[in-house]
């Protein structure tokens, strides 16, 4: 049974979520991959504002295919989150509450999530066609010249994700694996 969550994420919402929970997200998420993250950190270093309000925000690690005419967006599945590990703790410190992607996170990111109360959510890698149906609106709000890596503001409706890392140190990848691992005799 999936829990319906309305964005933005708050500490009140996060405290009830545990690794393994299935969620349906509705609200605004921002997309950013490596190149956009690099620019956001440069902006912070220079004391410039970020392209969106990071407090309570959720970032979806995703770069879509071009939209066909008349469509909101193209294929829109998650990319590997580990490449954003170098940037994530800084954004979490600035108020980022949620990250959506696939693949494991570094210890530094997990520590930051526990300390500052943020979560990491898994979307199904490769399932970009079905995920695109949960995206109701898409617009590029910054770094347009990065093409597929531009920063988009998305409005999502019932976007299915799974809690991978919660604020208590729970980790679905570790817990799930431990459950089904067959130890050598």
């Amino acid at each position: 049974m999936s829990k319906k969550i309305t964005l933005p994420l708050t500490d009140q919402i996060l405290k009830d979520l545990r690794a393994g929970d299935s969620l349906l997200l509705t609200g605004v998420v921002y997309t950013a991959r490596d190149a956009a993250h690099k620019r956001m950190l440069e902006a912070l270093d220079q004391g410039k504002p970020l392209p969106f309000d990071i407090k309570g925000a959720a970032i979806y690690y995703m770069g879509p295919t071009p939209a066909r005419p008349g469509r909101v967006i193209g294929s829109a599945g998650p990319t590997t989150s580990g490449r954003m590990d170098a940037y994530a703790p800084r954004l979490i410190a600035e108020g980022l509450k949620g990250m959506i992607g696939k693949g494991s996170r570094s210890k530094a990111v997990k520590d930051a999530m526990m300390k500052q109360k943020a979560i990491y959510l898994g979307a199904i890698g490769g399932a970009g066609a079905i995920i695109s149906k949960n995206i109701k609106k898409s617009e590029v709000i910054a770094y347009e010249e990065l093409g597929a890596e531009a920063l988009h503001r998305l409005e999502v409706e019932n976007f299915p994700v799974t809690v991978v890392n919660d604020i208590y140190g729970g980790d679905l990848y570790e817990e799930g694996k431990a459950k089904y691992q067959v130890k050598a005799p």
């Binding site: 770069g63 295919t65 071009p66 990319t79 590997t80 199904i124 490769g126 679905l172 799930g176 089904y180």
Partner: protein
């Protein structure tokens, strides 16, 4: 001598990339359905259901299966009796990539310099082309739109021959364990053993062209494939790493003779979204 027009190559390459990014090969769909039946974890069964639903939607709505429509890998078997006319072969292939990625609304994911400016070439060229010259008068073109996520999970090593097959098994299993969810499991694992290091990685990638579930014709190699597959599925990683009993759909091992001092081993990882298609001219 048989003549093949460069323009025909362009048209076929464009069509293969566009089509393969929307439709999984039938053997892959069967393998995913079998995985759904075998999987013991309810969470991973849900993931596999959604993956299968994604396959249907992609074809029906002409939305690419995955937003990462890959680097354009092209493997050629070029008959030595073939003469390409009205243009050169590699230019024709790159033109096919350009047209296919544009017409198919596929993502352009290639940057011009790997470690400097990383400027997008905007048409997904250049293609990554491998050519084998073979007897005959045909041109076989295989395309693999290869996603970055699983490609990043690939590795190459050179192991001590003295330790034999066990170190090969351990190397592959430990790699799958380490990369976990990053590779978008359930994966297909291409393994190349032998040759020189360059050849080992090439045959590991070429192994991904094999039909899923088709074992190596060499009984010893087939036994090795079965053993690696069993060990990998015992890891418990499961679909998308959420914990389950099906982590890999297949292990395809290719081998080559090698130097007395060496045992190169290459792993080319392939996500569940294993797109590939071929045509013969």
């Amino acid at each position: 001598m048989r003549e093949i027009q460069a323009g025909d190559v362009t048209n076929i390459v464009a069509r293969l990339f566009e089509h393969s990014c929307h439709y999984l090969p039938p053997d892959m769909i069967i393998a995913l359905k079998q995985a759904r039946e075998k999987e013991k974890s309810p969470v991973c069964r849900d993931v596999l259901d959604r993956i299968l639903e994604n396959v249907e939607i992609a074809g029906k709505e002409k939305t690419p299966l995955c937003q990462d429509t890959g680097a354009a890998v092209v493997m050629l078997e070029l008959g030595q009796e073939v003469h390409i006319t009205s243009g050169d072969l590699y230019t024709a292939i790159n033109e096919g990539v350009r047209q296919g990625y544009e017409k198919g609304y596929l993502r352009k994911s290639i940057v011009s310099q790997p470690c400097f400016a990383r400027v997008n070439t905007k048409d997904n060229t250049p293609a990554m082309i491998h050519t084998d010259i073979v007897p005959g008068a045909r041109l076989k073109i295989s395309v693999l739109p290869k996603g970055g996520g699983s490609e990043n999970c690939s590795r190459l090593t050179v192991l001590a021959p003295a330790n034999g097959r066990q170190v090969v098994i351990d190397f592959v299993v430990n790699l799958v364990d380490a990369v976990g969810s990053n590779a978008c499991p359930p994966v297909i694992i291409g393994v190349g053993i032998g040759g020189t290091t360059d050849k080992a990685m090439f045959i590991a990638k070429k192994a991904l062209l094999r039909q899923v579930g088709e074992p190596s014709p060499d009984p010893e190699v087939a036994e090795l494939e079965r053993e690696i597959l069993k060990r990998v599925n015992n890891l418990g990683i499961g679909a998308m790493g959420y914990g389950g009993t099906v982590t890999a759909l297949a292990v395809n091992v290719e081998t080559l003779p090698c130097h007395i001092a060496s045992m190169p081993v290459a792993v080319n990882m392939q996500c569940w979204c294993a797109r590939r298609e071929e045509a013969i001219l």
